[in-house]
Amino acid sequence: MTVVLETVPAPAPDAKAEKKSSWFVRITITVVVLLWTIPTLGVLISSLRPEELVNSSGWWTSLAHPFRGAEWTLENYRSALSNGGFGNAFLNSMAVAIPSTVIPVTVAAFAAYAFSWMDFRGRHVLFVLVVGLMVVPLQMALIPILRLYTGGATLGGVTLIPDFNLGGTYLGVWLAHTGFGLPLAVYLLRNYIGSLPSSIIESARIDGADHFTIFWRLIIPLSVPALAAFAIFQFLWVWNDLLIAYVFLGGSRQNRVLTIALADLVGSRGENWHLLTSAAFLSMALPLAVFFSLQRYFVRGLTAGSVKG
């Protein structure tokens, strides 16, 4: 679901040079940060402790003697990756998340270019329709699409869409994520691409470049900030998604993605904390890396454009 956020200008750099931070401010901030960090920290520390210790004492006890060798191990990660099938799930998550990010970004960029720089009938009506589709909750789309994947669609005996048998395939998941991500992507990218100066595009036209060349050589390089912001958001969303993967790819050991593997582990071994914590951290590792390395783009994209959830 989507919400439109107003554009906020960048903060003045010297705004707080003269501000004093009082004790009250510093203590409040520290307390909130600790409250927010401790749950994750507990999982990280537990994932590095041997099984017996995890089950017999709280993770905070290890903080008392951080340099004792017997307190730490990587065994949990090893067993989660091999016996837990998390290695395979990690691969599946990659195979789902990367195309599910690239495809909507590409399709939306082409559409956004056409909506802003090409003339065709129904341009405005179609754009409003596309953006209006942000209202549809994806829960509503799951059932019909699953039936479409496994049985095609007919109207009064006439086959409208043949049975492509897409249930349980990567293509099925990619297309579903593309469909659910498109309205926001088109909206965001159209705002950005439409605001590029028309003079550069016109001069390229006069030099004889066709639309495809302009799009490829000019628009894409110029739109990197917007494309990156949306791509990061979409990637995190797809990587962390449980519902769509569960419905369209299924929960079989062969096909399941990380979130499903983790959910299965919670269900089957709810008390094996040494496995659960390392598995949880495995599933968090990539999004956290993406988030911290590309945080600048991400936050800018969030505050300057729109947001999907």
Binding site: A111, M118, V135, L262, G309
Partner: protein
């Protein structure tokens, strides 16, 4: 049509059509037309063969995943490139008329299949029986509004959409205001609050199951932080997730933990956009920090607060993963609407009921969206 380049600039951002290229001999046109047919057919067959391979369960996983990545990433570029080639081969007359549809076509097709068709279809399914064979009228909707568990789900969802946005936005505003006054470490503090945003709901569920972990007396040490604190204070450990109806609050804490960072980062940008002169002028006039916050900060960022709150309300309305992973919702009394929908459709095997719940969810989202759009329009017209 003349072959000279159009010289007058077109009105608005829309561009002039391509200058038509020089005429070609008929033989080559035919060859090109043939190519326009053959290449997509070959490409389609190749794509089909690859997808068939991806379905093969016995193949090496690395190979399968590698090929899937190549097909998924390169395929979409190839799709647009080849469609553009096909347009190039069209007679000049149709070329520029067809090209915009090459650009928007795929988006429109995908949206029709994945969003427009499902809405219509779900409404139809919701009027049919468990196997979607016969129409049963409003039977399923009657179920939605009378079933005990469904009613509990609606009550719980109402709690979610009120409490989660309220708490998350409040903490977000206060934190952003205070962090703005920090001399050092603002970026680090904000990153740490924001961090849970990058974690999946399932991951967050594991993190918090660990926090809430409970062992009764005589079953070993409590390794969950909350119960360890309780015992440290000399009280009995509590099975946090079994305490009806308080366990609902325990689950909401997880969502607040995940979403506060989002609220905080957006509100922080709005707070930083308040001109310093206004705040300084108020301070010089003797306004206390509280008064500045109450009479300048809050009114200025109010539109942003509304937008963030709407986003959170919609998210809370659709919450599913947290409840689904944290245990048996029906036994614990923690059902929510989206979770019931999945249960009925995939575990309860009743398409009609699942679809009816989805329609109710859809109808519940619409007013929130309309309200949001109205607010947005008002704001635009003020500017």
């Amino acid at each position: 049509m003349s072959s000279s380049v159009q010289t007058t600039p077109p009105a608005g951002p829309v561009l002039a059509p391509d200058p038509p290229p020089p005429d070609r001999p008929t033989g080559r046109v035919l060859l090109r037309l043939a190519g326009a047919v053959v290449i997509p057919v070959v490409a389609a067959i190749a794509l089909w063969a690859t997808l068939d391979f991806l379905r093969n369960d016995d193949a090496n996983r690395f190979l399968v995943v590698g090929i899937a990545l190549v097909v998924g990433v390169v395929g979409v570029f190839f799709l647009f490139w080849s469609m553009n080639r096909v347009v190039e081969w069209l007679p000049t007359r149709f070329r520029e008329g067809a090209r915009p549809y090459v650009f928007v076509g795929p988006a429109l097709v995908i949206l029709s299949v994945f969003l427009i068709y499902p809405v219509i279809n779900t409404i139809l399914i919701s009027l049919k029986d468990a196997q979607s064979q016969d129409f049963v009228g409003i039977e399923n909707y009657k179920f939605v509004f009378t079933d005990e568990s469904m009613l509990r789900a609606m009550r719980n969802t109402a709690g979610w959409i009120v409490l989660v946005p309220l708490v998350a936005v409040t903490i977000g505003v206060v934190f952003a205001t205070l962090a703005d006054r920090l001399r050092r470490g603002e970026a680090v503090a904000k990153s740490l609050i924001f961090l849970p945003m990058a974690i999946s709901f399932v991951g967050a569920a594991v993190v918090w199951r660990f926090m809430y972990s409970f062992r009764p007396d005589g079953f070993g040490t409590n390794i969950g932080l909350l119960n360890a604190i309780k015992q440290g204070l000399g009280q009995d450990p509590v099975p946090w997730l079994q305490q009806k109806p308080w366990n609902n609050l325990m689950l909401m804490v997880i969502m607040v933990w995940m979403q506060t960072g989002f609220a905080m980062i957006v509100l922080s940008a709005a707070i930083k956009a308040i001109p310093d002169e206004i705040v300084e002028a108020a301070r010089i006039d003797g306004a206390s920090e509280w008064k500045v916050f109450r009479h300048i900060t809050i009114p200025t960022i109010f539109p942003t607060v509304v937008v963030v709150t709407t986003y959170m309300v919609i998210n809370a309305l659709k919450v599913f993963d947290i409840v689904f992973v944290m245990g048996n919702a029906e036994a614990q009394g923690t059902e929510v609407i989206a979770e019931r929908m999945i249960r009925w459709f995939f575990i309860g095997d009743h398409n009609g009921r699942g679809a009816a719940i989805a329609v109710v969810l859809f109808l519940a989202v619409i007013p929130v969206m309309i309200w949001n759009v109205r607010r947005f329009r008002e704001q635009e017209s003020i500017r």
